[in-house]
């Protein structure tokens, strides 16, 4: 790293984003498509839209895009048809056979026409088939209940007539005779309609019939058990067979209209039993005839669909690619002569050679007389950020990008995140038993990586799979910290050596009162198992973890400030070094760096000094004697100096920078009249990119000052609060270990104590579920979130701008994943 710039130095991989350049390509019209096709295969160019003022249909290649849209529609139609017919598109690997787009279009259109015709024919047949099936059912069902229904209908009819007569008799008793005579004639005229109505509508149907005829109908309905296909809509639905008896022409008209309105299919029905039987057999004959025709048609159709399905994926890919090519071509501006297209694109510098090769190949392959011209443009526009990540680093880079994409070429926290993120996680998740469980789970993903990456996973699984290497690192580190904390499902083991402590005598009576004695050398790695279960375990571990959190935090924050130095040197900003980096370094280290020093000294010397007291009185009364709390000679003087330095560094951060900026701006303003002549040759390229690059034009002193003020306050307060924030490492690791102790002692050991198989099994099951659910999943999530916060806030706010934008190249590999 350090003071490197441009493409002169060895690649810095992830430390800074790739150096990018804005290139201009002038492509002859005849080789444009092929060139873009090759560039899409290469996938290292991000084209700029030079026609953003034009609406999509005004662009040069709108016609081709429409064509592709049409083809895509045809393909979707095929897919739908295949889905209906149960033919799945063959998933065999798509080899690149060159098909011409125009040929493909013709072919697709032909196939579509063939398929639609087949469907139309099939539909017609299907419809008459369904009608016949319905008819048959009507004949069967109605035949069953027709006699009884007719009987009751006539009976009711008569009854009604009688009623009417009674009513009428009061007014016109003379007509009574006439009434009875008409009765007979009416009875003869009783007509009926039979048919099918969908069950959902049957109630409304009955109601409307009743209302429309004022109750002068007799309706009989019988449900059909199995759902049948409706001839009109072609959907399966539950239906009722109905039979309406009515009298009179007007009623008939009404009923027919109502039947139409309800989509009830009517079928003729014979009163005579013999005729019914005849009709049934006739209909059955027709049905079997139609059935065979339909089957033959379906077979033919299936055959066609299978042919389509063989090539479907290939065509689909081809159409997608073609569409994206023309989308890209639409972004290029047409030259005045209309003979070539001008493209502007971002590309990484390292790809220059490859791009030139591709251009050459394209012009050779398309037999173009003129080759494409490749030239680098100079621009003030900020280039996109591009990191060449691999499957291991990409997940870590994602963690950083989720906060904000790095500014072009600024120091990338992603590199450090690879180690610090899993490590901070593990500090909170220190238990090697749990770590091994996590490792096994993630190894499952890693081993089956190839298989899993090609298939669609669920939302959560997908996320876990994407972060498999992060989880692997996290689990490895938690195994490591687990050994340091000496915890495996909250149980301590003496793996590295026997414990350094032992009881004073064999009975071990006073182990918990007076304590143990040291019999051997210090335990070589991690916490001595003898601490486990003692009364002083918690105070000891708390003090250890708390101090460790502060050390880790101060170290990480210092790294952040150092990175701001690296940024300042990289971008040649000496102001930031002198008036930001140095005072920040001094401020942080004179307070919390000193605290860290005290912690280490205390650990090394084993002193009894109270660090709280030292820190607090360093501010409140710096001149007082330290007394018992003195850790090293001249401590008071050192503290005084540090305090003064910290105090001085605050105005140092605040004041000089805005004033110097103001002065610099004024100088530049004065010099402007002299430089204007020189700048004329750049005027063209500058005018092109006039929307940006004029950031220094306006200089508002008050704004800059307030900005600096906010920064200073944020840093000074942040130094305290961020350090405190790192104590979450201690808090979460405490919570984790206490929770696992609870599950181990209150579930597993309790169950063990009953000496009963059933209770033991239940206890083990509860223990496993609690461990997996709470400790492995919930605790992982919470520790992950806290580690994320420590990185995003406490670490990255020291240096990271994160206002860049991602490099999104035109590439066929990316297109494959999209669905459109």
């Amino acid at each position: 790293m350090g003071d490197t710039r441009g493409g002169c130095c060895p690649p810095m991989d992830l430390f800074r984003s790739e150096t990018m350049q804005l290139v201009q390509l002038i492509i002859p019209m005849e080789s444009a498509r092929l060139t873009v096709y090759y560039l899409g295969k290469l996938g290292l160019l991000q084209f700029k839209d030079l026609n953003s003022d034009k609406s999509p249909f005004q662009r040069t290649y709108a016609g081709q895009i429409k064509k592709c849209g049409e083809m895509a529609r045809t393909l979707r139609f095929f897919k739908e048809q295949m889905l209906k017919a149960g033919v799945s598109p063959s998933a065999k690997s798509v080899e690149e056979t060159e098909i011409d787009v125009d040929d493909l279009e013709v072919k697709l259109a032909e196939l579509e026409a063939e398929l639609t015709e087949m469907n139309a024919n099939g539909e017609k047949l299907q419809r008459s088939y369904n009608e016949l099936v319905e008819y048959k059912i009507v004949l069967r069902k109605a035949g069953d209940f027709f006699p009884s229904a007719q009987h009751s209908a006539t009976a009711r009819q008569r009854e009604m007539e009688l009623n009417q007569m009674v009513e009428e008799s009061i007014e016109t008793p003379l007509l009574q005779e006439q009434g009875t005579s008409t009765d007979l004639s009416k009875q003869v005229k009783l007509g009926f309609v039979t048919g099918l109505v969908s069950r959902g509508k049957s109630m409304a149907f009955e109601r409307i019939l009743f209302r429309a005829t004022r109750g002068n109908v007799f309706l009989e309905q019988v449900p059909i058990e199995a759902p049948i296909t409706d001839p009109v809509s072609g959907e399966k639905m539950e239906k009722n067979v109905f039979m309406v008896f009515y009298s009179g022409e007007r009623a008939k008209n009404k009923i027919l209209k109502i039947c139409d309105a309800f989509g009830a299919n009517r079928y003729p029905f014979a009163e005579d039993c013999g005729k019914q039987a005849l009709m049934i057999s006739e209909v059955s004959g027709k049905i079997s005839e139609l059935k065979s025709t339909i089957d033959a048609g379906l077979l033919h159709r299936d055959h066609l669909l299978r042919t389509i399905s063989d090539q479907f994926e290939q065509w689909n890919l081809k159409v997608k690619k073609e569409k994206s090519i023309h989308h890209t071509l639409n972004m290029l501006s047409l030259d005045v002569t209309k003979k070539c297209l001008v493209a502007e694109a971002w590309s990484p510098v390292f790809a220059t050679k490859q791009i030139q090769d591709v251009l050459q190949r394209a012009s050779v392959d398309s037999n173009s007389q003129v080759g494409a011209i490749f030239q680098v443009l100079h621009t003030r526009e900020s280039p996109p950020t591009y990191f060449r990540t691999n499957k291991f680093t990409s997940a870590f880079q994602e963690i950083v990008d989720a906060y904000g994409v790095a500014k072009y070429q600024e120091a990338n926290p992603g590199v450090y995140t690879i180690v610090t993120f899993p490590f901070l996680f593990a500090v909170m998740f220190g238990d090697w038993g749990h770590g091994i469980c996590l490792l096994l789970a993630t190894l499952f993903f890693i081993i089956r990586e190839k298989k899993l990456s090609s298939q669609k996973l669920g939302d959560i699984t997908e996320m876990t799979f994407g972060g498999r290497y992060v989880i692997m690192m996290m689990s490895l580190f938690s195994i490591y910290t687990g050994f340091i904390y000496n915890e495996c499902f909250s149980v301590a083991f003496d793996l590295f050596a026997p414990s350094a402590y032992a009881c004073r005598d064999l009975s071990c009576r006073d182990a918990y009162s007076i304590g143990l004695i040291k019999v051997r050398d210090t335990y070589p790695f991690g916490v001595d198992p003898a601490w486990h279960g003692t009364r002083s375990e918690l105070p000891f571990l708390n003090s250890l973890k708390m101090k460790m959190s502060i050390l880790l935090g101060v170290a990480q924050m210092n790294l952040g400030i150092l990175l701001s130095y690296s940024n300042a040197t990289f971008f040649g900003n000496s102001l930031n070094i002198w008036f930001q980096f140095i005072p920040q370094m001094i401020f942080l280290n004179s307070l919390f760096g000193y605290l860290s020093l005290l912690i280490i000294v205390k650990w090394c010397t084993g002193s009894q000094a109270d660090l709280y007291h030292i820190m607090i009185y360093m501010f409140l009364s710096p001149t007082d004697e330290l007394g018992d709390n003195q850790l090293f000679p001249y401590q008071k003087t050192v503290q005084l100096v540090l305090l003064l330095l910290a105090l001085v560094s605050v105005p140092w951060m605040l004041l000089p920078k805005p004033f110097l900026l103001k002065k610099r701006h004024e100088n530049r303003h004065q010099g402007q009249s002299y430089t204007q002549v020189q700048g004329t040759d750049d005027a063209l390229s500058e005018a092109k990119h006039d929307s940006h690059g004029h950031g220094h034009e306006e200089f508002e002193f008050s704004e800059v000052f307030v900005h600096q003020l906010i920064h200073t306050i944020e840093f000074v307060l942040g130094a305290v609060s961020n350090t405190a924030s790192y104590l979450r490492l201690w808090a979460l690791s405490l919570a984790h270990s206490q929770l696992s102790i609870v599950f181990y002692e209150k579930v597993l050991l309790l169950a063990w104590g009953y000496n009963n198989m059933v209770i033991l099994v239940v206890g083990i099951i509860i223990f496993i579920f609690a461990t997996v659910g709470v400790l492995l999943i919930m605790e992982t999530l919470s520790a992950f979130l806290h580690a994320l916060r420590l990185h995003w806030v406490e670490f990255q706010n020291k240096f990271y701008e994160g206002d860049g934008y991602k490099f999104y190249p035109f590439s066929f590999i990316l297109i494959d994943d999209e669905d459109y």
């Binding site: 709108a62 049409e70 979707r76 509508k201 409307i208």
Partner: protein
Amino acid sequence: MYGFEAMTFNIHGGYLEAIVRGHRAGLFTAADYNNLCQCETLDDIKMHLSATEYGPYLQNEPSPLHTTTIVEKCTLKLVDEYKHMLCQATEPLSTFLEYITYGHMIDNVVLIVTGTLHERDVQELLEKCHPLGMFDSIATLAVAQNMRELYRLVLVDTPLAPYFSECITSEDLDDMNIEIMRNTLYKAYLEDFYKFCQKLGGATAEIMSDLLAFEADRRAVNITINSIGTELTRDDRRKLYSNFGLLYPYGHEELAVCEDIDQVRGAMEKYPPYQSIFSKLSYGESQMLDKAFYEEEVKRLCLAFEQQFHYGVFFAYMRLREQEIRNLMWISECVAQNQKSRVHDSVVFIF
């Protein structure tokens, strides 16, 4: 409880309000309309629409496109959105949402009845009906011969039943009394909706009463203009005006006696909010009045989004979307018939 909606509104209405505001963000802007107006063919329009929220609804349409298909698909989108909201809604919002569709129901009833009167095919008529105003037995309307039957057979099951109480006559249906029926129904509907909103109280009542009053006044003016020169008596005309709104009651007295468009103008210009509408028109002109009213309505509907915690946004959104579809239909028609010079005549920009 005016002013306290903020405390409880989001319990039931928050999700849907968010949804409807999200939908509103998808409404076309002036830039979209500009692009649409530049289209040369219907395919261009389809291409432009494919980049908007209408995209998925149009993407599977084969290429020779018709205006009706575009409008149908766009309406389908609105209906889908409406149905989604209705499914999620709880009382009283669900009732409120249902109220929005009653207007379409009245129009559909009138459409079917007029159609059958002129002996059109029922299926054909059903296709023309607005999908928001559909109800189960709508096709049965064709059976009815007069108002009484209409009510007794079909409408008694629909939410429109109460509105019918005023227009049950045994007269045979003809164009004139169908039109009167439509206006009577609409009057009853608006009054009922108004009352319902007043009952809801709070910001909903405040905003909706403004929007509904505007609707009522607009209908009053339209009724007046359309009935000039017909045999409708002044009293009958007076009866068709809704009993609320800015014009109620004195404006109605004046409108009832108007004999030509300039008299209407004279009556309306006394009301400041309508003065601006009429000042845009030259004397004796009534052609552009519709557009002027639409523009004013759109302005008011947009204002409904400025306030939170009320149901007016749902009404406003549905109306705005319908206006957008009307615009789209006009543009498509102009494009299809090569009348691009007239594109701007009837398009009402929403933003």
